[in-house]
């Protein structure tokens, strides 16, 4: 297992290298950060030249790239252009919130989708199956933004108008009294619902169709023929085989899950990496935007690594070394 993980980590190096190249190219296509000064008649040209030299902007592009990558490798993502605090520090403050949001939503949506998908497949064309298929199609097509706004509209705005207990519109905790765990959970309910519903829809679709395919296989008939209990057949033989494509899907969905978190954070003013990214763009804080892009990419890669390890766990035919 250890050797496998090390090998996968080594395979990530070229991908990470590519990510830094792309980020660097895109951000340099934005033009020089000194552009505004150049158009300012009060700034002397020799001052601009001095600043450019001090910032290293007079170096050729490839050299600047290697200087930057060298710093990134040492864990230095530069200073935020807005308040000159280290980018790593600003990201670290909010990263936990994003990870919390995404991990809870993944767990919850799997807990809902796996049993429901299996039930739909075994009771094909039954009432539950039809409802859940309808739900799967609708959940794929619904805009996350709108879903979030509808939840706010119903559970925050209308509930408080009707005098029912309402949920907070956004944020991560009540600002008046620094509430405890209950308050934190209250603030998580709506964002997580907005993330979970579309995710459940996606999982449901795949679990159901894969389960239907698996149930037609010979080994299921063999398992039934030798008189195994229905539960053993479904969960021991059926689900085990459905898990394999599911893990592949998990790896593919990771970027979508983080993108979803990004959107939801902005709808609910939830202080996470996605919210920070949009704020940073508004501030034209290029170093921070670059740092967040890199962090998102690293999170996706780590997620894929987890998926690879899980792959070997659920499928004993895959040998790790």
């Amino acid at each position: 297992m250890f050797r496998f993980i090390v090998r996968r980590l080594l395979q990530m190096i070229p991908i990470l290298f590519g990510i830094t190249v792309i980020t660097f190219i895109i951000i340099n296509a934005a033009g020089s950060p000194l552009q505004q000064m150049e158009f300012n008649p009060r700034v002397k040209p020799e001052d601009i030249a001095r600043i450019r030299h001090n910032l290293g902007l007079d170096e050729p592009l490839w050299k600047r790239y290697f200087i930057w990558v060298g710093n990134v490798l040492q864990g230095d993502l530069g200073l935020s252009l807005i308040n000159f605090r280290p980018v790593t520090e600003r990201i670290r403050e909010v990263m936990f919130n994003t990870l919390l949001l995404s991990s809870i939503s993944i767990t919850l949506s799997l807990l809902i989708a796996v049993p429901l998908g299996i039930y739909s497949a075994t009771h094909r064309n039954g009432r539950i199956d039809r409802i859940s298929s309808l739900f799967a199609v609708a959940g794929y097509a619904i805009p996350t933004v709108w879903l979030g706004l509808l939840l706010i509209l119903l559970f925050s705005v209308q509930f408080s108008k009707w005098g029912l207990p309402s949920l907070p519109v956004g944020g991560v905790r009540d600002l008046r009294d620094d509430g405890g765990l209950g308050d934190r959970i209250e603030h998580l309910i709506l964002p997580i619902t907005a993330l979970v519903l579309p995710q459940v829809a996606t999982w449901l679709f795949y679990i159901r169709s894969n389960m239907l395919e698996v149930l037609q296989q010979d080994y299921i008939r063999a398992a039934r023929a030798k008189g195994l209990r229905n539960k053993t057949v479904l969960y021991g033989h059926g689900l085990r085989n459905v898990l394999i494509p599911l893990v592949t899907l998990f790896g593919l969905l990771i970027p979508d899950i983080f993108a979803g978190a990004l959107v939801v954070e902005n709808v609910f003013a939830y202080p996470g990496m996605g919210r920070l990214a949009i704020t940073a763009i508004g501030d034209k804080d290029h170093t921070l935007v670059m740092g967040i892009t890199l962090m998102f990419a690293v999170l996706v890669i780590v997620g894929n690594l987890i998926a690879d390890v899980l792959y070997a766990v659920v499928d004993p035919r895959i040998r790790l070394d």
Partner: protein, 321 residues
């Protein structure tokens, strides 16, 4: 019954034998005992699609929405409002109030008229993005699959890199310094998300390129570009159609999300996404203003998705017979 030896001799060695022999092959082919003319693939697909009532209704609704957007000036004429004209005395009118059929927005602009014009942007971006993705992804995928070797390695590693950064994050990175118009936005989306479709095309091309008909055309001196364009790509078309029709809903959602985050089309030009963004601040005052643009996005992505699913079922070669 099937004159296999004759057919074989006719195809492998067309210059041997006289004309009568070749004619007899043709005659034999006609005389295979078919009771009706062979149905072309496209006819069969259309017959299957027509039988799927849900997909047919979804197609009609999609056409209606496209017409609604194309005929935006007519909508504007009927409602008597333009999409940019403010009526500051009549802000946030409820649907039906003061002659605003679907209400008015925070600047007193008619929501129905803005929906029609906003639909132009959303549909234009999604449509153009799908076309540019097909061109770009089709080209990259077929070149990588056909030539193999280092070209393949290079292009597919680039695809890996793109897949490990969430598309939304990349788009945000680009829009942090660049405000695209709808055409540029579509090209941008294509530039950052060609990885998935190109992998699909590559896989198909690899499975096709060692078939006899490719060898045959190479033997008679066809160039690489002719083989790719005339022999390989037409075989990938059904898969491309299914992929494209399933990509449209997600592109509509992507555009809406970008506009919602303030990174797409800029006000006063409406798009469904930036209407939602504007509506968010009035979530306590007007439910209809939040509800309607999102519903429009939802219906459009839902219908295009259902059409896509219908097309997939109609074109899926595994379901033949």
């Amino acid at each position: 019954m099937i004159p296999e030896d004759k057919a074989l001799s006719a195809t492998t060695d067309p210059f041997v034998g006289d004309k009568a022999e070749q004619d007899s092959v043709l005659i034999d082919y006609e005389g295979l005992g078919r009771s009706r003319p062979i149905e072309s693939n496209w006819h069969r697909a259309w017959r299957r699609f027509k039988a799927n009532r849900v997909a047919l209704i979804a197609l009609l609704v999609t056409i209606a929405i496209v017409l609604f957007a194309i005929l935006a000036p007519v909508v504007s004429y009927i409602t008597g409002y333009t999409y940019y004209e403010n009526h500051l005395g009549e802000k946030l009118a409820a649907p039906g109030q003061d002659g605003y059929i679907l209400g008015s927005d925070g600047n007193g602009r008619d929501v129905l008229t803005r929906l029609a014009y906003g639909g132009r942007v959303s549909l234009l971006v999604a449509g153009l993005a799908v076309i540019s993705l097909l061109l770009l992804g089709g080209l990259i995928g077929s070149v990588a699959g056909y030539f193999g070797g280092w070209v393949d390695t290079l292009l597919m590693r680039a695809a890996d890199v793109l897949l490990s950064i969430p598309t939304l994050v990349l788009l945000i990175l680009v829009s942090s310094f660049y405000r695209p118009d709808p055409w540029e936005l579509a090209v941008l989306i294509a530039l950052v998300s060609w990885a998935g479709i190109s992998r699909l095309v590559r896989g198909e091309v690899i499975s096709l390129k060692h078939r006899e008909f490719v060898d045959a055309s190479r033997v008679i001196g066809a160039s690489n570009s002719r083989i790719i364009l005339r022999h390989l790509l037409p075989n990938v078309v059904p898969i491309l159609i299914v992929w494209a029709s399933l990509a449209v809903p997600s592109l509509i959602l992507t555009e809406a999300t970008l506009s919602y985050l303030g990174l797409g089309v800029q006000a006063p030009q409406p798009s469904w996404g930036n209407m939602l963004q504007e509506a968010k601040q009035f979530v306590r005052q007007s439910w209809s203003f939040v509800f309607i643009p999102g519903l429009m996005i939802f219906i459009t992505s839902l219908c295009t998705y259902l059409v896509g699913l219908g097309l997939r079922d109609a074109l899926d070669p595994r379901l033949n017979n």
